[in-house]
Symmetry: C2
Subunit: 397 residues, 2 copies
């Protein structure tokens, strides 16, 4: 088997001591062989961490040379010192590569409101440069280096043909909720050897985000650090993409981002189910998304799934308060393929069978069909368990 790592990138991870556990990497570095196209999608939270401010100002770009991430400390709500520390981190990486600090992107995740332990990071950056490589093991170390409370690394890879050339796309992400003590954030980096312009990278990334990372919820809390980066080395020899070739790339990237995104609620804190919510027959996509999100965020829907309870009333009433106008008589609900509700009234169904199908499967499918049009939307959510509450209400000292 050939390596799934796209040409043009080296990567590695290292433990420098931001995290207490010496077996857990807390630095992750991706180095580009040459100036590389990069684009980003960032948190919409008004309260943003230093690295988000830094990256936003430097993407899209065709001159990026590295992505440097630390985990264990979010460098958020850290004032001017936070900006200085972030710039120093980028500067150290840049110096080692002989490039400008503006060519280095940064990400941080972990506790909010504490200054970065710069001494440890300086030493760690020396070390991580010794550990770069192009094997899957290097990618895995880099993927572990962005984790916080994730149970394991979250990665996905795609190989496809674009313009007749083999193209690789590989991605890593992290996130399991906004969690005590303020361990925040969804981070993701996707690498490809396809050729894109900075504007294409920006557009295609924003586009696929709408049907992947923007369609997941654990607890509805958008963090101060959320960042998704796409780097395109162009080394696959596809030439510039346009028309059907660009669309083919977009579709592959969307699939990969959905694979990555779903891993987040599947690993949601205390989660015992991954809930997929399908909305069909809505008047338009915005409506479909709004209904899907409202159902996905409902604590009562989540707890019903936790308990294996085919509680259609909670799902139907959540759709009803989404703010979307629809004919309630045209609504039809199935859970794991079982029809529960149609035309304004409950349908007779065997509660035990449906309950058992929820209990027996990690994946739960909730499908709501409407009579308004042809728009669809899909959303993924974790359920809500006693463990989630325990984990998030335990005092951190």
């Amino acid at each position: 088997m050939t390596s799934p790592i796209p040409a043009g990138f080296k990567m590695g991870g290292f433990h420098c001591g931001v995290k207490r556990n010496p077996n857990k990497e807390d630095l992750s570095l991706i180095v580009c062989d040459e100036d590389t196209v990069a684009a980003g999608v960032y948190t919409t939270n008004l309260v943003v961490a230093a690295p988000v401010v830094w990256d936003r100002a430097r993407t899209p770009s065709d001159k990026i040379r590295a992505v440097m991430t630390n985990s264990g400390n979010a460098n958020a709500c850290t004032g001017e010192q936070g900006d200085k520390d972030n710039a120093e981190m980028a500067g150290i990486v840049a110096d080692k590569l002989g490039v400008s600090a503006d060519q280095v992107l940064t990400m941080s995740t972990g506790i909010i409101g504490h200054h970065l332990p710069m001494e440890k990071i300086r030493t760690g950056l020396d070390e991580v440069f010794q550990r770069l490589g192009t094997d899957e093991s290097h990618f895995d170390a880099a993927a572990r280096g962005i984790m916080t409370t994730d149970k394991g690394k979250k990665v996905a890879a795609v190989e496809c043909k674009i313009n007749g050339r083999p193209v690789k796309i590989i991605g890593m992400c992290k996130g399991a909720g906004m969690i005590a003590p303020n361990m925040a954030t969804m981070l993701s980096v996707v690498l490809t050897d396809a050729q894109l312009t900075p504007e294409q990278a920006k557009t295609v990334l924003a586009d696929v985000t709408n049907t992947s990372f923007n369609c997941i919820t654990v607890d509805g809390h958008r963090s101060t650090n959320d960042t998704l980066l796409l780097l395109a080395s162009g080394k696959a020899g596809t030439g510039e993409l346009s028309g059907p070739a660009l669309e083919a790339f977009r579709a592959e990237l969307e699939q990969l981002c959905q694979d990555l995104a779903k891993q987040i609620p599947a690993d949601g804190e205390g989660s015992t189910h991954l809930i997929e919510i399908n909305i069909e027959g809505a008047a338009n996509r915005d409506d479909a998304k709004r209904i899907a999100k409202t159902v996905a965020d409902s604590a009562l829907v989540k707890t019903a799934i936790t308990g294996g309870d085919p509680n259609w009333g909670r799902i139907v009433s959540a759709a009803g308060y989404s703010g979307v106008q629809f004919d309630p008589m045209g609504m039809e609900l199935t859970v794991n393929g079982h029809l529960l509700y149609r035309e304004g009234t409950p349908v007779k169904f065997d509660e035990k069978t449906v309950s058992q199908s929820i209990k027996d499967n990690f994946d739960t499918n909730v499908t709501l069909k409407f009579n308004e049009g042809n728009a669809r939307f899909r959303y993924w959510s974790s359920d809500l368990t006693v463990e989630y509450v325990k984990f998030n209400s335990e005092y951190r000292t």
Copy 2:
């Protein structure tokens, strides 16, 4: 002490068997001595119960003669039969009073998707008419008759002077979350002997709802049955209200509705804290409300309070993703009077002292000040506990 019951109303409650426990009233009846002014505020959920459809079509009015409520069954998602049952219930009350069914308002709360046990209700209605009276004990029986999983009756009373005349306002409400098995709904009835026109009743009720019943959250789930009714008998001899007199009445009604509304999250399922969220210095009221609601609905803020954790990062970041534009550097956070965050950075504070103040008090005050203007808003929320999740994830059979 004189009775707190406004002149012009009789009331009572009775157990007819909709609820299993024979000690719990499940019928509640309020009868007006004469044609009475009434207005309502109803759920914004698109999926609405039969009594909501009925009352909406008949308010505001100056001809109302009774409010009839059953608890234990919401008569929601019950199709045409549900509408028929509701009309029959109103008709029985109307016949006994010798008035038209259109002069009787109805409310239902309880399980969704089951037809009303009409035989029991018919018999019960005969009985409840024997138990009407004007004492506080009658009011309490009526207040218990609208309860579902509430730990106790929720009532409030005000006596004041309007246009030089003593005026009474008294209210009852129920609600503790949208709970298994679909025990839904916030219901409230407020009675006064002040004199209002139907339009005044409608306007003043909608107005005070915005700062009371619309400012509370347990789990953010708006039910199919939510109803708030105001009945004004005019028996206090105030004459028609206008100008300062109307404003004085509005202020008294607002205070009473806030007293009632706060009792709902205070009795939220599994709740161990009533959280009051104060937003100050916002650009406008809508912004202030949006920030308040976002903080109030955050599972991470709720669980932090449950655990006595002065976790300012969760509160600050919730404000940040509310969708409201503000200067993050102008934000200041206090919890129970302790300053935790100012000018984009955490403030040094004694975590143990703040934690202890959260643990020692049922009421928690969260105040976020902004530098945008002078608008304020207040919101009340329950915390989120293991008991809430247990209660809502237990399978109902």
